[in-house]
Amino acid sequence: MEQLSLKLDAFEGPLDLLLHLIQKNKVNIYDIPIVLITDQYMEYIEQAGKTDLEISSEFLVMAARLLYIKSKMLLPKHEELEEEEEEDPRQELIQNLIEYKKYKEVSEFFGDRKNICDYMYFKAPGKVNDFKVINNAQMPFEKLADAFQRVMEKFEERNNPSKESFEGIVGREPVPVKGKIKQVKRVLNSKGQVSFVSLFKEVKSKSEIVAIFLAVLELIRDCMATVCVNNNEVYINNCE
């Protein structure tokens, strides 16, 4: 028998070791010469016991199993029993081995292919989610409109509209939308998210409300803001 740096580490488990021995001795897996294989297996275990502190329990369980099969096969058979088809004590082990061998062989297929992706590079995704919300018009614009309506109503409750305020709307634009865009953007940049209503806390006129609302719509159109609803409250999110 070859001399011997028998390392258990090289094997994935007791079945792997057994397959190795079967292959090395060029014997038929369906007709394992149990004495030969058991002896060689035990040699591995003994050798490993000298060097390694610990042999994993699976190897020892298999050793016991092999010795059991060996002893069973060495025992003389009863003549009457021989007539009946007595089960080959090796059968279960052989099935285990064949089952394991199938997967071990097919694992080479995966081993050959495991590095395919290493030769390919992928791009990080663009901000698809932001686009998607905007493109699919999934934003709750109706809620936004409702919220705007409520802001207007509240404002009217607070101040009975005076003649001057109407003049403002009809006349030139007293509150430039551009300025409000900048203002809303500043708020969004610092806070990330604000409730729609809070944008109108300090408004002094209807036209200011309209201007702020237009500013919000402009920002949404230019994909710089999104709308969402949380707990029945409309929020504006920063998108940059």
């Binding site: 149990i34 060495l74 080959d88 064949i98 061998k101 590079y121 990080a124």
Partner: protein, 203 residues
Amino acid sequence: MNKEELREIENAIEAILFVAGDGVEEALLAEIFEMKQDKFREIMTAFADKYNFDEKHGLKIIEYGGMYQLSTRPECVEYLSRFAGNKKPTNLSNAALEVLSIIAYNQPVTRSTIDKIRGVDSFGPLEKLINRDIIEEKGRLDAPGRPILYGTTKEFLKVFGLKSIFDIPELDSMQLSVEDFENGELKMPEAEAEDEISRGEEQ
């Protein structure tokens, strides 16, 4: 659909895949182009073939698990690695590959089945495969202890360059299967068996 219309769709597919970076579901693409999925698949497959094999761009369209994705062409790897550095190689031990094989053919499957087939504990390799996103939990078996069931992921298909799980080779490539043995076609020849035993005694 005439040639120009087709060209337009193909260009748009390419553009979408570029922006997406990640894999894009075939169903979503079909929806975007307002087509039945079968019809879209036809166009997509022809386009991918043309793109990958006739025109041979620096990019490649890969398909896995009903998704399409742009990747760089493997042949470009040398120059790319000079530009972007080498990718960390996919490092899977033999144990992990064995566990993966068992899962791929038996999914969804419990750890105890895997352990039983391998004859050895599989906790370590299983963890590694989960961390690499190659396998995942697929629910639990309705049995005592409710053990976790494992199955392969789309990432698995991507890593191993497979379009679908059906692309893995047939398992019973071995000439003799367990059934043959059980059917008694391979009965142990008596004489040889005794031979073996007596040889054993001599030793």
